[in-house]
Symmetry: C2
Subunit: 346 residues, 2 copies
Amino acid sequence: MSKGVNLKILSQRLNLSQTTVSRALNGYPEVSAETRKRVAEMADKLGYAPNSQARRLATGRSMAIGHVIPRSIHEMMNPIFLEFIAGAGETYSKHGYDMIISVVEDDQEEEAYRQISSRKKADGVIVHGPAHDENRHALLKDLNLPFVVHGRIAGAETETCWIDMNNRRAFQRATDLLLDLGHTRIALLNGLEHMDFARRRRRGFEDAIKERGLAPDPALMRSNDMTEPYGCDNAMEMLKSDNPPTAFLVSSMISAIGVARAIGQCGLVTGKDVSIITHDDALSFLPNSGEVPIFTCTRSSVRYAGEKAAELLLAMIANPNSEPTSLHLDAELIIGQSTGPAPAKV
Amino acid sequence: MSKGVNLKILSQRLNLSQTTVSRALNGYPEVSAETRKRVAEMADKLGYAPNSQARRLATGRSMAIGHVIPRSIHEMMNPIFLEFIAGAGETYSKHGYDMIISVVEDDQEEEAYRQISSRKKADGVIVHGPAHDENRHALLKDLNLPFVVHGRIAGAETETCWIDMNNRRAFQRATDLLLDLGHTRIALLNGLEHMDFARRRRRGFEDAIKERGLAPDPALMRSNDMTEPYGCDNAMEMLKSDNPPTAFLVSSMISAIGVARAIGQCGLVTGKDVSIITHDDALSFLPNSGEVPIFTCTRSSVRYAGEKAAELLLAMIANPNSEPTSLHLDAELIIGQSTGPAPAKV
DNA sequence: TTGAAAGCGGTACCAA
DNA sequence: TTGGTACCGCTTTCAA
């Protein structure tokens, strides 16, 4: 039952001024070692903890980072998003920052940013799920709110600070692997292609195919929310077609599981009759990490991305004049059980 | 480029006192209609928004709700957790509250609550993932921090405010359904049974079986993190045993997908050779909601639970003397494609 | 090395 | 109906 000890009471008990006590507690150098020790002990004894609101008001820094999640992003990216958040949250708490999350309707996103800025709710924000047609960066610059993008905003790569994996390259390498295994009919089950990451993945896929002198077949490319049924239904449809694919490149584990289900339902064997490569965000509840992982995958930890994004943002805030640094992560290409040589033509 | 208009500037521009302006903006009755209108217009024109830190300091309310997520809970419950959060977040923003999330190491959880209380970071908290051996409610009472439990704390049902689905009943009904279909060898793939919800589910399962004069077979009961491989590996092992189950009752869709995969790999057909009932938290990225859902399930929306939990908590905060109301939600039992009569004995 | 006092930007009581 | 003023609890000059 803490009795609400504040600076005033604490300083009275010590026969010191609030100033000195504050300085002692905040590690200012001009305090004598002995005083500092006395202060620390008494603070500990009385269970003193500074009121964050008061400190925030006094310093003008809210010591919080905002994450605005429009409902549509939430729906599509739910699991990925939380993993990212968890990573970021770790960094924040290490640095004494709070994380505030606003889940808003899509048309309220701008207003949410404006409020964060005008009411001083956070010292910076993370921008989630950049789309191709994107303007949040302009708004945030206008609001003078430091931000880091998870992903990239096409066309604003040099003027914004971002952290992203190399989506194009990852999907190019994955496609190359399938081509090397002799697959020529490769299907792409991509995420929604108004999202920046999905566009880049598609480019990587197409580049790889074109480099071998092949032409991407539009009938084998799909784009949608990355649910399990999306993977299953589309794979099923393609597998039953006249000219079915022998391999699938899939944008998410969840959809890949759906694809595997479809393959099973067709009486085929994954990794033998039909190959799958998926992108693996290294989500804790979807482990794909045995000695030989179930799925061959391009893997990149979103959690790590979250940690790093937070670090970039805190650095920007601490040092507003520094150049915007960005981070480009490469995905690992990991061979699992879901790929094998293209079956011989009948 | 907002210029940081504050109350002082605003009131000067209006030739009014800060007091009056504040009252006008906050809807106090003693302000003349005309003044109120003038104030509102000017505030709008200058883009005035009150500084939240200042207001919080003055009112003594932080207008924020805390969610402390120990890493272990995060790892197991990741997708469920975010969905809950999203629901809660909606309620918060409707009421002008912020949501602050702390992801902490397991051994830092208590400290996190203490800080929320002593530094006044939040006016209340939501307790996630109650275990069987649980003491957070005692701590929070001690800290005088209002809270609502998502789930129940066994033994403290009457003294705490909680929202929970009827886990026991849901699993009892699901088991009954399987028994009615003629299944007698039913496997239970449960979540971690030190968690309260998992214990209740198990009880429901066992009760149903015992009521028919059968005995639950320990060989058919498993308990673990609800991952996809957990479902697959355990189902596989059981299906290959001498006396395999003909039906699975599974605690999460993700594991159920794994079970389906195992069934497929054994050359069997889900819903015909082997039945599955899963619990479905109605996660947006795992839809199970076609005309005839893929999985027969007990369904209860976590998102809805989040909304309601937040409402309960805000009500407690607004009216600290009211009796603790709790909410017991019933899951729907929904027939999908994954159940059918027990296959005739050979 | 320490302290007095003026903010930070609001709210709310007491008078007028 | 409006205004003066004392807080809220901490930080941060400026003086001593």
